[in-house]
Each structure stands twice: as structure tokens, then as C-alpha cells.
């Protein structure tokens, strides 16, 4: 397929996944912040500030005032604000722009679904959200809309090369963002162990899992009890959870292999293959070592390198 088209499809995958991640993180953080602000306002504040590290070049475009709820500037910045390159609005817009430029490579259902989400984000931007329940409602609707697009991609597109590039973008973005969420929140969480306020402590672990849509999946494997080591192991090394780093690296590796054919080992395939092997075979040693910040830095770095290598291999010809 055309390199330009593959490039656009890859980015549609990335932007859709990014929009979904932002939506989920906003909903989860808003829950957490409402729940904890009376108990420990600093924790609520930190949770919001984390957004700026999970999306490293994002900038808060609204002012924080003592009169409005803490959530509002963050919600506006990351939901409707076009000036923030990591808002839902920005990501959906970009996904649609890319879709418009390769419309013939998408099914009608995909385009219609994407166009619909785009139009509802536009409407929310125009109308604005008067209060937190309105934000929540709007985010919920957008979340559903994004899943509709993803479903349309899955069930109406031929699973051919174009689809693989889209899924490649999706899995790379997912792993990259999950790694950043973990990198941002895990060290603080591990350090907080000593504080002793147990319910609050577990609320944070719960938020971490929910932020990576893994709470229910975790419970299904390990039951309701949140054991930090089990949670970390689950989020990093689980074989079946779609948001674990190991699963993500395997997905990127598999889509790359399907694109190039099994015989060829391309530059991006080498990078992701090595990373996957670490996550797949070195899990126990990593858990023993406990240097999660170091591991996560490496994951983030290798994924960035994989992206660059993909661009060189397929998009710049």
C-alpha cells in the first residue's frame, strides 16, 4: 500500500487510542479527585498534575482558581481545548483529518462512526459543560463513541495491511501511554506505603488499575485483594491483559511481523523483539530487583525508538 496511506492509518490508530486513554484517565482521575479531595487534597492535586507527565508536552491552558473545583481546568484542557495537543478534541480532530485524507482506505462504517464522535466533540466544545456531572456525562458519551469507531474498525475492515498499520499505531500508543502512566504513578505509590492510611492507600492502587482499565481484569485473576506486587506484576508482565506492557510489546511485534512477513527481520522488529523478550522472560528478576523506574524508562525509550524505526522503514520511502 501507499506509504502515505500507511502513515495516515498508523496515526489514526495512535490518535484514536490516545483519545480513548485521555477520556478514561479523565474519568478515573475525576472520580478519584472527588472521592479524596476532602480527605487529602494534596493527593487529588497530584493526581491531576500527573496528567501533565503522562502527556509530557501537554500544557494546562486554563487557570486554576480557588473558586472553581480543581478538576475543571484540567477537564477543559484535556477534553475540549484545541490548543492542547493532548486534548481529546485535538486527537479526534487529527484522527479524522487523517481519515479524510485516506478515506478510500477505510470502510464507510468506520468513517461515519469517527465523523460522529468528531461532531459531538465539536458540539461539546461549542456548548461547554456547566458542571462536573455535565463533564462526566459528555466524557462518557465520547468514550462510547470511540469504542464504536474501534468496533467498526475491528468488524467492518478487512484485516489486511492497512488494518495492520492502524493496529500497529494503536498498540504502540497504548503501550507507550501505559508505560508513562506507570512511570508517573508507580514510584510515588511505592513510597507511600509507609503512610499507613490504608483505605486511601488502596484507593490509589485502585485508581492506577482503573486508569489502565485493568481493575476488573486484575480481580478476575487475583481476587479483590490489592497486593502491590501482584498489581505491578499484572500491569507489567501479564500475558493476557490487553494493557499489560508485555502484551503490548507482543502486539507491536506481531503486527510488525504480519506486515513484513515472517521471513524478514526489520529494524523496528529487532527493537521491539528485544524489549518483548525482556518483559517475557526476565519478569521474575525484574520483580526481585524492584527498579521499576529504571525498567519503565527503558520501555518508554525503546518504544520511542520503535516508532522512529517504523517511520524510517515504511513511511519515508
Amino acid at each position: 500500500m501507499l506509504s502515505r496511506v500507511a502513515d495516515s492509518l498508523y496515526w489514526i490508530g495512535r490518535y484514536l487510542e490516545r483519545a480513548e486513554n485521555i477520556t478514561r484517565l479523565l474519568l478515573v482521575t475525576e472520580d478519584f479527585s472527588t472521592e479524596t479531595q476532602g480527605l487529602a487534597e494534596d493527593l487529588a492535586q497530584t493526581a491531576w498534575k500527573d496528567m501533565l507527565e503522562i502527556f509530557p508536552s501537554a500544557q494546562l491552558t486554563r487557570e486554576i482558581t480557588p473558586f472553581a473545583p480543581l478538576s475543571v481546568p484540567y477537564l477543559s484542557t484535556f477534553f475540549t481545548d484545541q490548543a492542547n495537543a493532548y486534548s481529546i478534541n485535538f486527537s479526534i480532530r487529527k484522527a479524522r483529518e487523517n481519515a479524510r485524507s485516506v478515506r478510500e482506505a477505510l470502510t464507510l462504517e468506520v468513517f461515519l462512526a469517527l465523523n460522529e464522535v468528531f461532531r459531538s466533540v465539536e458540539a461539546y466544545e461549542r456548548k461547554g459543560m456547566p458542571d462536573l456531572p455535565a463533564f462526566r456525562d459528555a466524557l462518557g458519551a465520547i468514550h462510547k463513541g470511540i469504542f464504536t469507531v474501534v468496533g467498526a474498525i475491528e468488524h467492518t475492515s478487512t484485516h489486511d495491511e492497512g488494518w495492520r498499520f492502524l493496529k500497529l499505531g494503536e498498540s504502540l500508543e497504548r503501550s507507550y501511554r501505559s508505560a508513562l502512566v506507570l512511570r508517573t504513578r508507580l514510584p510515588a505509590l511505592l513510597a507511600a506505603e509507609a503512610r499507613g492510611d490504608a483505605p486511601l492507600y488502596y484507593t490509589q492502587w485502585r485508581m492506577l488499575l482503573r486508569g489502565l482499565s485493568s481493575l476488573e481484569n486484575y480481580r478476575r485473576v487475583y481476587g479483590a485483594r490489592l497486593e502491590p506486587n501482584l498489581v505491578i506484576g499484572f500491569l507489567l508482565f501479564d500475558a493476557d491483559s490487553p494493557r499489560s506492557l508485555r502484551y503490548g510489546a507482543a502486539a507491536v511485534r506481531d503486527y510488525l511481523a504480519a506486515i513484513s512477513g515472517p521471513a524478514e527481520l526489520t529494524a523496528p522488529a529487532r527493537i521491539i523483539g528485544r524489549l518483548h523478550a525482556d518483559l517475557r522472560y526476565d519478569d521474575e528478576a525484574q520483580m526481585r530487583r524492584g527498579d521499576f523506574a529504571g525498567l519503565l524508562d527503558r520501555v518508554v525509550g525503546e518504544l520511542a525508538k520503535t516508532h522512529d524505526a517504523i517511520a524510517t522503514q515504511y513511511f519515508v520511502t
Binding site: M1, L2, S3, R4, S101, E104, L112, R119, E161, T317
Partner: protein, 450 residues
């Protein structure tokens, strides 16, 4: 009403519905106002949801608008269409022979059928292409001819578009929309289907391949997303299942054209280019063009790629050439011009349809007239027929034209339908989408006795 002088498509002078409009009128009368409004809302929503839009130039980059659609269909009875079709086939056949002649031999110029200076001085005439003849001698693979009806209801040709006529995607989408929003309309009419246009177009393009390779690779070349007809380019690529390329996706090597793919370079055999001649190859034509493919014309000259329409074809859709159509048809085909007539039948040097021209066009034109007044004639404006149109809650006459699409492949075929554009403002003659025009579904009826 300002449309009084116009021929009314649906009602005769006494105000009685013409026979082929009677069922439609009674269906519409059976709807309540509220029902019609509900359907109209549905229809607008469906256009926006599907992104059936065109891009407006001169505004913020990438501004999209929907092309307004009027749900009252235009109905053309089968016998009327048979005549139109015969006229169009004749016309396109003659136009193609004329272009072929201009680039090889120039007999018509030597025989003074048309004054040579009229042809040779046009910028659409490409001297670089003399004796460069496309595969199977076809220049005009896709033609859109603009037709109007005068006060007496006669069909007249306003202009031929032999370069890259657009609008066919709206023809197909209008039918889809009407099917969905007013399914009742179709119950009483044998409307001829148009959905196979993409298949016919693909056949036509395959026929333009330089040599009969087993499976020629066809692509559509678009100027890109910012182009006003981008929706159509993408639509046709999707419908035909071919790759939509931009200039930067193509590369010329060893006198062949290739596209850049994820698996390396792939050879291209036929390019349905929706980019004008002037922009197609910066090495041959406009050097500042970023839309084209450097070296493409050399590949074409070598006979290694088919281009549709062929470069140079624009020489036939010049308004001054158009005035000589009756003579050209007689010259090449030995026939009289069929039912559809040329509007001004004495030769004029360029023509300006006041109400159809852009302001800048008028200014340039006036400057030319002042410089050389002897070369110009003035004519009263030709009427356009009027058609019932739903506007502000009521049905009123609005002026319309018609652009049928003609494909020249193994044979010359006319799509049974076309783009009916409508001037949505009362009294207006301007049917252009960028200036308050809209469009209608166009029904060609099957002959029930055939």
C-alpha cells in the same frame, strides 16, 4: 415570480402538472408540512454525518460545507433522454476526432472548418503534444457536458468539459440520499439505475492502459485534501477499489511511473488524473506546480502510461471551439448536429455569460472588449428552465441546468442521469455550489414499452 419566462419542467403554461410529474406531485401533496420538514432534517443530518462535503476556497483552510440537496427530483422521460443521449454520443465522438486531428495532421485547420488562430492561440492547445497520440486514440475518456433548456423547452449545450469534469459523486450520493429519505417517490417511477457508474468508469480507464497487460494498475491522482472536489476523488477511488494518490506518492524512473508503497515501488499503468494539464508535470508545464509528478509527460510520450483524460484534450472545451461544433460534427461524421444545439451558432471569439461569470472574469473580459471591440458580439442571455424546489417551507420554481456524464472506452456511453444543479436563490441563474447552488436527484425513466 422572476422565473416566469423560464420553461417549467413540471407544469405547463396552464399550471397543470406534466404527465411525467403527476405521480410525484400527488405524492408530495399527500405529505403534511411537518412530515416534509422532518424528512428534510433527516436528509441534512445524513449528509453531514457522511461527510459529503466540498471544500470552500478562500476561507479558512479546509472549511467544509455540505452541497445543498433539494429533494424534489428532476424527471426526464425516456424518449427525451434517448434524444439527448444520441446527441451526446455524437458530440463526444466528434470532439474526440477533433482533438485527434488537432494533434495529428490538423486537417480541419487546413480545410478552414475552424479558423486556425482560434485553436492554436489557446492555452489549452499544447504544442508540446503534437503527434503524441494516446492509446486507442482516445483523448476524452470522461466528459461532462452542461445542458440547459431555453424558454421553449429545447435542450441546448452550454459547454463541454473535456478535462476533469466533476460532480458525478453527487449524482450517485443524491440517489442514495433520496432513496433513504423519500422511499415513497420511487414506487411509481421506473427510474433507471446509475449505481454501476464506478464499474463503467473502471472499464473505461482499463481501456486507456498503454498496452493490454494482464492486470493494469489504475490510480486516481488528486491534488489533495484541500481541493474542492476531494470528496469525489476519494469516493471514486473507494467505489472502484483503486488507489488514490497525490503527486508526492508517484515517482518516475526509467521512463515508467511508480507509486511509493510500504513494500517498495509499484508500477502504475493508468492515471485518472483530477489535476489540470498545467499542474501535472512541473518539468513540462508549470514549473511551480507541487501537485504533479516530475517527468510524467515523458513517460506518457513514450507510451508507458495512460492518462485520462489525455493531456491537451482541453483544446476542445474552449468556448470559441464550441461555437463551431455544428461544422465540426458535419466535417467528421457527415451528420447534422442532433437535437441538442449549440447556443450561439455564429462564431464568436470567446463568450461571457454575464450571470455565470466571476467578477474578475468580467473585468478581464471587458478589458479585452475595449481593446478590440470588433471581435465581440453581445447576445441576450439564454433562459434556464425552472423546476419546483423546496425552499423556506414551500415549493417554488428555481432555475436548473444538467450535466450528464459521458464515458469513452470501448464504446461511448452516457450515464442515465446526471447532475442537476439548481440556483437556490429566487430569480438567480447561478447554480454553482460555491455561490448558493444546490443539486437534485436526476431521474431518467426506463421505457416501459421497450
Amino acid at each position: 415570480m422572476p422565473e416566469k419566462k423560464a420553461f417549467d419542467e413540471a407544469f405547463d403554461k396552464k399550471g397543470t402538472a406534466r404527465q411525467h410529474y403527476r405521480p410525484l406531485v400527488s405524492i408530495l401533496e399527500s405529505f403534511t408540512q411537518g412530515e416534509i420538514e422532518r424528512r428534510e432534517r433527516l436528509q441534512k443530518l445524513s449528509l453531514m454525518d457522511q461527510g459529503i462535503t466540498f471544500t470552500v476556497y478562500g476561507q479558512k483552510e479546509g472549511t467544509e460545507r455540505i452541497f445543498p440537496f433539494d429533494f424534489v427530483p428532476r424527471v426526464i422521460p425516456s424518449r427525451e433522454w434517448e434524444r439527448l443521449q444520441a446527441g451526446l454520443v455524437q458530440r463526444v465522438t466528434a470532439l474526440n476526432l477533433f482533438i485527434l486531428d488537432v494533434y495529428q495532421g490538423q486537417k480541419c485547420l487546413k480545410d478552414r472548418i475552424i479558423p486556425p488562430e482560434i485553436v492554436l492561440s489557446r492555452k489549452e492547445y499544447k504544442r508540446e503534444l503534437l503527434n503524441v497520440i494516446p492509446p486507442r486514440q482516445i483523448f476524452t475518456h470522461v466528459v461532462g457536458t452542461d445542458i440547459i433548456r431555453n424558454g421553449a423547452g429545447e435542450y441546448l449545450v452550454l459547454e463541454d468539459n473535456c478535462r476533469c469534469p466533476s460532480g458525478v459523486s453527487y449524482v450517485l450520493e443524491n440517489r442514495n440520499t433520496l432513496n433513504r429519505v423519500f422511499p415513497e417517490f420511487f414506487k411509481y417511477y421506473p427510474v433507471r439505475p446509475i449505481k454501476d457508474y464506478p464499474t463503467l468508469l473502471l472499464d473505461t480507464l482499463l481501456h486507456a492502459a498503454p498496452r493490454f497487460s494482464e492486470k493494469p494498475v489504475v490510480v486516481i491522482l488528486t491534488p489533495g485534501m484541500a481541493n474542492s472536489a476531494y470528496f469525489e476523488h476519494s469516493f471514486l477511488a473507494r467505489e472502484m477499489g483503486v488507489v488514490l494518490v497525490e503527486g508526492r506518492d508517484l515517482i518516475v524512473e526509467d521512463n515508467y511511473v511508480f507509486m511509493r508503497t510500504t513494500q517498495g515501488k509499484q508500477k502504475v499503468d493508468v492515471i485518472y488524473r483530477r489535476v489540470d494539464d498545467d499542474f501535472i508535470d512541473p518539468l513540462t508545464f508549470r514549473r511551480d506546480s507541487l501537485l504533479g509528478v516530475p517527468g510524467l509527460m515523458n513517460v506518457y510520450r513514450e507510451g508507458n502510461v495512460g492518462l485520462a483524460n489525455a493531456p491537451g484534450a482541453g483544446v476542445a472545451d474552449d468556448k470559441s471551439v464550441y461555437a463551431f461544433m455544428p461544422e465540426l460534427i458535419r466535417y467528421y461524421l457527415g451528420e447534422d448536429e442532433l437535437v441538442i444545439k449549440t447556443t450561439g451558432d455564429s462564431g464568436g471569439y470567446g463568450m461571457l455569460m454575464g450571470p455565470f461569470a466571476a467578477k474578475k472574469e468580467i473585468e478581464t473580459y471587458l478589458a479585452q472588449v475595449k481593446k478590440n471591440p470588433g471581435n465581440y458580439i453581445a447576445q441576450p442571455l439564454v433562459e434556464l428552465s425552472a423546476h419546483p424546489t423546496y425552499s423556506d417551507g414551500k415549493f417554488e420554481g428555481r432555475r436548473i441546468d444538467l450535466r450528464p456524464f459521458i464515458l469513452y472506452g470501448a464504446s461511448v456511453r452516457v450515464l442515465p442521469g446526471g447532475l442537476t444543479r439548481v440556483a437556490l436563490r429566487p430569480g438567480s441563474y447561478v447554480v454553482n455550489s460555491s455561490q448558493g447552488g444546490g443539486s437534485k436527484d436526476t431521474w431518467v425513466l426506463a421505457d416501459k414499452n421497450a
